[in-house]
Amino acid sequence: MEACIMDGTTMKCGAVSGLSTVVNAISLARLVMEKTPHIYLAFDGAEAFAREQGVETVDPNHFVTPENIERLEQAKEANRVQIDFTQPAKGDIRKENAEANGGDSQIGTVGCVALDSHGNLASATSTGGLVNKMVGRIGDTPVIGAGTYANSYCAVSATGKGEAIIKATVAREVAALMEYKGLSLKEAAAYVIEEKVAKGNAGLVAVSANGEVTMPFNTTGMFRACATEDGHSEISIWN
């Protein structure tokens, strides 16, 4: 499991990877940010830090569900690394459904971006990774600038195919377009999702310093919700 948090005001950040027993990965990422001189801790070192900090840990089996096991079997059968969790399909249509849905449903990674009443921006993302990924694979979530980023312009949390998000430095790209090219949040985010990442590979949520919110994606759906102080709110899955 991986997680990452970034404070757009101070540019401080924390990230963790390779966790298998820590109940709240994002809280451990925050502790890395606040209690160490480092940004990113992974695997055994991260687990050791978790114990030093006394955070809640459980047996790794806590995180393994029957649905996940079934998804893994499907992915292995199709010899595919899945972008995220499909519904485990039953019976004859299993393979067809898995292919149709492969890459398009988003449940495994969660993220949040926020602008507070003082104008501070922050972003946080947490994931269990890809179904059938190689052991030790790190995705975009803990890579500052890829899956998570915040500065004084905006806060971004991305999700999708980690490899595509890493090479496109998605989260940083949105902020850089605003900062260096003067685009609005909506324009910057739309551009990154439409032009910089292959279709079917990514979505993001983002807020800007002036209160804009945007949630573009180039997959068939993305679980998302947003709210602003003036009363606007939205919960959606599809386009």
Binding site: G18, T36, D44, V81, G136, R137, I138, V143, R172
Partner: protein, 372 residues
């Protein structure tokens, strides 16, 4: 401009009192790596092959020195190792004739591979990343302790796995599956760094706010040196962390590679900027960048990506982008970087006390340096 260009670095943040002999050895190592890259470029190798080769070749055998060395300047073009007839009077090159190829990754002068900085537990954790600007494909590895050539493993991740980044046990397993050369971890531990680790612990160098001087640390060094720290470590104990290479080849393709042994006395499992795409390494169709220095500052600044973003979105030159990245984006952090652009420009920028680097372009310009 146009034509190929190459730069190599051996880390930023050099002890100002580094003995002259060590400085000369460093120049030799840098030049050797540079010439390896130049030969490959002349043989029309692609940018991504060249950056891997330059960072990797270090692992293929130790340097054999032949007797004697001579200082050379480019008024005597026949002694320029590249065979160029450049008569740039500003260059002063000190170099040695080599019996065989000299490495960067396994050169104990530079931290990465053999001579890696030791973690707080005295262990080795190596990271590396590589990026091909023409495709923006990338590969990265972290937490290696037995893989002889981290940069080649990063390349294998890029070319032979469905992923971009593998770490620790998973990366080690991948290495074995793909027949990468494995050695005992003790191969990477040198006496000098064992001593350095002990000294760093004594200096209580890694503190929560590492910009404060260590309390109660007495030294005979000058006051200026007392205050100079890199990554929370007194500069006199600090060994530059990283090696890197950036190349634009004859077809205008850019690539970057960075490899590090980490940070002295770091927490186990700490990952710095070197394997993070956009921080320590980045390449696109406009430029390629390899950064080094205070990893956390480089991560916050997404330094390598920012050089490219400044060029792409603000339309400024490579030099302007590098200046902005180093002098504005790093804020309080210390670091350096090398970069090339697709039109054959190459540059180094740093705000540290020195940076080991060497640069060359197809038109014959070549330089090697440590200081400003």
């Amino acid at each position: 401009m146009g034509g190929w260009a190459i730069a190599v670095h051996g880390g930023a943040g050099i002890d100002p009192s580094l003995p002259l002999q060590r400085q000369e050895e460093a120049c030799q190592a840098l030049l050797s790596a540079l010439h390896l890259g130049i030969s490959a470029l002349r043989s029309a190798s692609s940018a991504v092959d060249v950056v891997e080769l330059v960072v990797l070749e270090s692992s293929k055998g130790r340097q054999k020195r032949s007797s004697g060395y001579w200082p050379c300047n480019c008024f005597r073009p026949n002694c320029c190792p590249c065979g160029s007839n450049s008569l740039d009077p500003c260059l002063w090159i000190l170099w040695i004739r080599f019996g065989s190829v000299r490495e960067l990754e396994l050169n104990p002068l530079f931290n990465s591979g053999c001579g890696s900085a030791l973690t707080a537990q005295g262990t080795v954790e190596m990271d590396a990343s590589i990026m091909d600007g023409s495709t923006r494909k990338c590969g990265a590895v972290s937490g290696l302790s037995t893989v002889k050539n981290p940069i080649s493993l990063a390349r294998l991740v890029m070319d032979k796995s469905p992923h971009a980044y593998l770490a620790f046990d998973g990366a080690e397993a991948f290495a074995r599956q793909h027949g990468a050369e494995i050695v005992d971890t003790s191969f990477f531990i040198i006496e000098e760094n064992v001593i350095r680790l002990k000294q760093a612990k004594e200096a209580k160098s890694i503190q929560f706010d590492y910009r404060l001087p260590s309390k109660g640390w007495d030294t005979c060094a000058s006051e200026a040196e007392q205050m100079v720290q890199m990554n929370g470590v007194p500069i006199s104990l600090y060994s530059p962390e990283t090696v890197g290479c950036v190349v634009v080849d004859a077809l205008g393709r850019c690539a970057a590679a960075t490899s590090t042994g980490g940070l002295i006395n770091k927490m186990c499992g700490r990952i710095g900027d070197s394997p993070l795409i956009g921080a320590g390494t980045y390449a696109c169709n406009i430029c390629a960048v390899s950064a080094t220095g205070e990893g956390e500052a480089i991560i916050r600044a997404t330094l390598a990506r920012d050089v490219a973003a400044l060029m792409e979105f603000k339309g400024i030159s490579l030099k302007e982008a590098v200046d902005c990245a180093i002098h504005e984006r790093l804020e309080d952090g210390k670091g350096g970087l090398i970069a090339v652009s697709n039109d054959g420009h190459v540059i180094c920028g740093f705000n540290t006390t020195g940076m080991f680097r060497a640069l060359a372009t197809e038109d014959g310009h070549m330089e090697v340096g440590l200081w400003d």
